[in-house]
Symmetry: C2
Subunit: 173 residues, 2 copies
């Protein structure tokens, strides 16, 4: 149990990418962390791109950087929804200011663009949003995983082994 | 890289349970193992219960216990298909005789029933096939994960953290 006593928020909304949510969530649980899914309100139900259900444990307005040791954001089209919630953006911004791990994969970069934490940050993303990432100030690179201080980023589900390992590494005591 | 130089077969067919295939597959890759998906022939395409595609790397007739260090079998309704292939059953039987790790979760027990390796074995499964497991000689228990020598079994996707950890443990040098 490498991550005992660690508490991580996973942000969800409709059309999240199936494995980009569930692989890191289950992986962190396997490592001993507590992982809570955050949605519009506790009990809110979302479906992945392929229809796998996810039920929110807490609401976005329950997110408080002091209560979490990190946050993971899946790709798919959920990030296009997530970036519309001020509570989500405030949490991501404050988590970053606290230097706590933030994981973004695929389209999740959109959330960090709107939380305005990418200026002069080295990161990657799915190719489709590369221009958005660069326009937001990112030093964009094409790599399976990029770690810049507390920010971990990957491109697609094929990168999940590297993404999860890097995120867990950052959470080590 | 705990599992460098380990090679694992993952059996696939239509209606496999999404996370019961992909979580262990990606987890083993994260740990450094090579994981090959086995289907009717190389390139055969299957869809999970929710429609996530999986493409076979090798055919069932390429399965040879001397070339693999273990096998994982997902649940869903894929096991109802998998048990119809003599090549699958022979591989599972020979892998068991070689004492190499076999992972079954949910409905995957059906494959081990037809491979006839459950007599006097302690194991679990999804509740729905408990009677089939017991009738095949299993000492059936209701636990998140059960390890009996080289056989690792779990019940449902909620058990995946325990299942993966136990399977990896068995593969340690």
């Amino acid at each position: 149990m490498e991550l005992k006593n660690k508490k991580i928020a996973a942000l969800v909304h409709d059309l999240y990418e199936d494995l980009e949510l569930w692989y890191p969530v289950i992986r962190l649980r396997e490592a001993g962390a507590e992982v809570l899914l955050a949605g519009e309100k506790p009990g809110a139900q979302y479906k992945s791109k392929h229809g796998i259900p996810a039920i929110a444990d807490i609401g976005y307005n329950d997110l408080d950087k002091d209560n979490f040791d990190g946050v993971i954001i899946p790709g798919g089209y959920a990030p296009d929804k997530l970036r519309r919630y001020p509570d989500v953006l405030a949490f991501v911004k404050q988590t970053d200011e606290a230097g706590k791990p933030i994981g973004i994969i695929c389209h999740a970069g959109w959330v960090t663009i709107s939380a305005d934490i990418l200026k002069n940050r080295r990161a990657t993303s799915v190719g489709a949003i590369k221009d958005d990432m660069i326009n937001a100030g990112t030093d964009w690179v094409d790599d399976a995983v990029v770690v810049d201080k507390n920010l971990v980023s990957s491109r697609t589900p094929a990168d999940l082994p590297f993404y999860a390992r890097a995120f867990i590494q950052l959470l080590q005591p």
